[in-house]
């Protein structure tokens, strides 16, 4: 039985790691996945309420706490409902069955005669006088989870599948709600002088000038080349940090060139090369077509710069972070500081949406380092805007070259995707390093290029394999050993650039074959769920009456199944192109199997569409001199209210099929649908993102 248990349960076998009944007639549900704006906590609460048969308001959820909640790794890769949700369902069903089993013995009846109504136990519809709170005992919670109970069938669901509102938004629209807002006793504000690059050494620091700029008393903390400004006046430490780079002299700073900000630069770099899929060499036919697509380095660009709190008291370090993974962060901090893991507690607190591995963990280490130097205080590190843009790990530039050998009807018989990219994941537990660690007297070795395995969806190769019925397919992955700046996970990893390439190329091949792009796709696609979505979106967007090519008005469509195993999404985009691209309308259909909270799911789908549109049209991290030069919102523009289209999302109901992670599924299709709509509007193809005014002008004179 245990072979089938999800990893979350295998790593946390005791029932009391997950569930407890509390004296105030609530149910404590502890989970390892954390809220990063995706609404996961209400969805997990719904699953527990459903299986236990208690009112949703009785669920008191605790998430992301190394002292009191299970270790579920990182909140990433659209895995929260697939893995944690499945775990909560099994755990809740088992606890209910265990307790009802004991009650049946007590009452000398069959378990089937018992039922639960908002936590109270009924026999043949009559109250027994027992409930979870009175009848559960320590033996229920000390037990190992076996995965033996059978959860409810979807047809019996009352809470799952309902649009239950989130509970965290009320604080977020009325006042304090975030890690940034926490006030602790003996709290000191801190800012950090960042080492410009790994290996740079601080030669001189004009402390007097920095203190003068602060305008009030501040304390300087220095450990190796890590320097922080600390004090009870946040304004003063902020001023010190803003002035500090101008009063610091570094040696050994790596020098960057704007050439390195383009994906094409990666093609000439040393790489770890892998061949996946059908054997080479690629087949030759009478017609072989190849095109290359790219996306540059892009930033997570969280609306809030990262924040971390830490306090060291009595030999124990307590840390608050908006990290995606409290346990991995706890382990990294303990290892770097030379503490035992049980000397460190990390608790999750809400931050701004991160969309992947941003500066959150680094800010927590900053705070921890300072706290070790100033014990018995709570150290609050707030990153500055230019610090977040300049030092968070970015998503690697990514280039995909597609090659198709076509038959006489213009249909691919052999397909090769060749990918050049840096690491798409470099979390500290995954070969990466933490920022402040690099400035310490004993820095870590250089980060090691790494990517998720194919079984975990791949990184640079994510969605590199088409799901079309081509006779032969392969992916060649060139994982760059080094990138000019730190890179790590951002929503979808390689899925967006790979789906952009794949679905744009499909339009190009359809055009070459003289076949309508939707008809062409459907003629090469047997997956029934995908076919249904494409037909749905094509119908809703008026595909059949699509106008002529080159009118300035475009309609484009694309689809993918995220990681080729998570949720399906199909997106159509209508837009106008003059000098700039103006998005008009977006239609989306998604199939994620059983949807726990349709309102939250819709919010995620829409968010992914807008985020992907922003990335496709606008976003690029720029490099020069000693680092990243896109350090504010003027230099890293994102989609604004006036640029957001009308969005129409449909979720295909499939309650009897397993839930599929959906937070990232609209990302690639949106990018490619925009690419296809722009090509339809202009009559020329732009293959390199972002699709800026300059690229449009260049494409038109080509």
């Amino acid at each position: 039985m245990s072979d089938a248990l999800p990893l979350s349960i295998l790593n946390n076998r005791r029932m009391d790691k997950w569930l407890r009944f509390q004296p105030d007639r609530t149910v404590k549900l502890a989970v390892g996945k954390v809220e990063i704006g995706q609404g996961v906590l209400i969805a997990l609460s719904q699953i527990a309420a459903e299986e236990l048969d208690v009112g949703i308001d009785r669920i008191d959820i605790l998430s992301g706490d190394t002292a009191d909640a299970p270790d579920e790794g990182s909140t990433s890769s659209s895995q929260s409902i697939e893995v944690s949700g499945r775990s909560v369902r099994l755990v809740s069903a088992e606890l209910r069955a265990r307790i009802l089993g004991r009650l049946a013995q007590r009452l000398n009846c069959a378990p089937e005669e018992l039922s639960v109504e908002d936590g109270a136990f009924l026999m043949d519809g009559n109250h027994t006088g027992y409930d979870y709170w009175s009848f559960s005992g320590p033996e229920d919670f000390a037990a190992e989870i076996e995965g033996s109970a059978v959860p409810k069938p979807a047809s019996a669901y009352k809470v799952v599948g309902q649009p239950v509102p989130r509970r965290d938004l009320i604080a977020k629209v009325t006042g304090a709600a975030f890690i940034h807002d926490i006030v602790r006793p003996a709290m000191l504000h801190a800012r950090v002088l960042r080492q410009p690059s790994r290996g740079a050494r601080l030669q001189a620091l004009n402390e007097a000038a920095i203190r003068k700029a602060a305008g009030a008393a501040i304390r300087l903390v220095r450990v190796g080349d890590f320097v922080a400004f600390v004090g009870d006046d946040e304004t003063a430490v902020q001023r010190a940090a803003a002035a500090a780079p101008g009063h610091a002299t570094w040696t050994g700073v790596r020098v960057l060139s704007p050439l390195q900000q383009e994906a094409a630069w990666l093609r000439d770099q040393p790489s770890d090369d892998r061949h996946i899929g059908d054997p080479g060499p690629p087949a030759e036919t009478r017609v072989v077509v190849s095109e290359t697509y790219s996306r540059p380095f892009v930033a997570h660009a969280a609306l809030a710069p990262s924040c971390g709190l830490a306090e060291y008291r009595g030999g124990h370090l307590s840390v608050w972070s908006h990290t995606q993974g409290v346990y991995p962060l706890r382990n990294s901090i303990a290892d770097i500081l030379g503490l035992k893991r049980d000397q460190v507690t990390v608790r999750h607190a809400h931050g701004a949406g991160c969309y992947g591995h941003n500066g959150a963990d680094d800010a927590a280490l900053d705070a921890a380092l300072i706290a070790m130097q100033i014990p018995d205080h709570c150290i609050r590190v707030q990153w500055r805007r230019e610090e977040e843009f300049g030092f968070e790990p970015v998503s690697t530039a990514h280039m995909t070259r597609l090659r198709a050998a076509l038959d006489d009807a213009g249909r691919p018989v052999d397909w090769t995707a060749e990918v050049w990219a840096g690491s798409h994941v470099q979390r500290p537990v995954f070969g990466g390093t933490m920022l402040a660690h690099e400035a310490l007297p004993a820095p870590p070795p250089p980060p090691k290029a790494n990517d998720p395995t194919e079984a975990n969806g791949g990184g640079g190769t994510r969605n590199g394999f088409p799901m079309y019925d081509f006779p032969a397919k392969r992916v060649i992955h060139h994982l760059a050993l080094e990138t000019p700046v730190r890179t790590s996970s951002l929503r979808g990893l390689g899925a967006l650039p790979n789906v952009y390439a794949l679905e744009c190329f499909m339009d190009e091949l359809a055009e070459r074959a003289g076949v309508d792009p939707v008809v062409y796709r459907l003629s090469l696609l047997s997956d029934p769920r995908a076919r249904l979505l494409i037909a749905n979106v094509a119908d809703r967007c008026g595909w059949a009456s699509r106008g002529p090519v080159g009118s300035g008005h475009g309609l484009g469509l694309a689809w993918s199944r995220y990681k080729n195993k998570a949720a399906y999404a199909c997106v159509a985009v209508e837009l106008d192109v003059d000098q700039d691209i103006v998005l008009r309308r977006v239609w989306c259909a998604a199939d994620a199997g059983l949807v726990i909270n349709p309102d939250g799911a819709r919010n995620q789908l829409e968010g992914g569409i807008v985020h992907a549109a922003s990335m496709t049209l606008k976003e690029q991290v720029t490099l020069d001199g000693d680092g990243i030069t896109s350090l504010d919102w003027d230099h890293y523009p994102i989609l604004k209210f006036s640029e957001v289209p009308e969005i129409d999302v449909v979720i295909i109901d499939n309650p009897d099929l397993p839930t599929l992670g959906m937070g990232e599924c609209t990302f690639g299709p949106t990018a490619a649908a925009i690419g296809n709509a722009v090509a339809h509007a202009l009559g020329v193809r732009i293959r390199d993102m972002p699709l800026t005014r300059e690229r449009i002008a260049a494409a038109l004179v080509r």
């Binding site: 629209v173 807002d181 609306l303 922003s614 919102w633 009308e646």
Partner: protein, 155 residues
């Protein structure tokens, strides 16, 4: 120096440098955490407050320049127990993902509805263009402002 102003309806007297950013005063001296730091550059709108009824960035605004004036933060609109119609509309529409942008956006929307109780979509979008939302919740936010307008959410 001593600076006097009105914050959320109460007279406030502060002993603070005149060059201190209004946002720092609100957050650290008055413990009003609803106005948020996003950029310090008047680019993102997370820090938006009403100054004499006009939506303004507070992150780079010196406290000395608001002496004698009236400042309203999101805490001044409503509370979790008694939310303002705008706040209630955002909850009803579930118009948030991470929620970091929301307090600044609600302030911009408040200023809009006070001067234009029946805004069109174009009016709303124009009023919110000084606020960034990174999660892509825009369409719900626009719907929430429309809903608040329908319910007569001035005052």
């Amino acid at each position: 120096m001593t600076i006097e102003l009105t914050v959320n309806g109460s007279a406030v007297s502060l002993d603070v440098e005149a060059t201190t950013p209004l946002l720092d005063v609100l957050r650290n001296h008055l413990d009003l955490k609803g106005s948020r730091y996003g950029c310090g550059l008047e680019q993102c709108g997370s820090c938006m407050v009403l100054i004499d009824g006009v939506a303004e960035y507070s992150c780079a605004r010196e406290i000395g320049s608001v002496s004698g004036r009236t400042v309203t933060t999101v805490e001044g609109l409503g509370t979790p127990e008694a939310p303002h119609p705008l706040q209630r509309a955002f909850l009803e529409e579930q118009a948030g993902q991470c929620g970091y942008c929301l307090s600044g956006i609600i302030i911009s929307a408040k200023a809009l509805l006070d001067r234009n109780p029946r805004p069109t979509r174009a009016d709303i979008v124009a009023a919110l263009d000084r606020n960034l939302c990174r999660c892509g919740t825009h369409t719900r936010i626009i719907a929430a402002v429309r809903k608040a307008a329908m319910s007569g959410a001035t005052a």
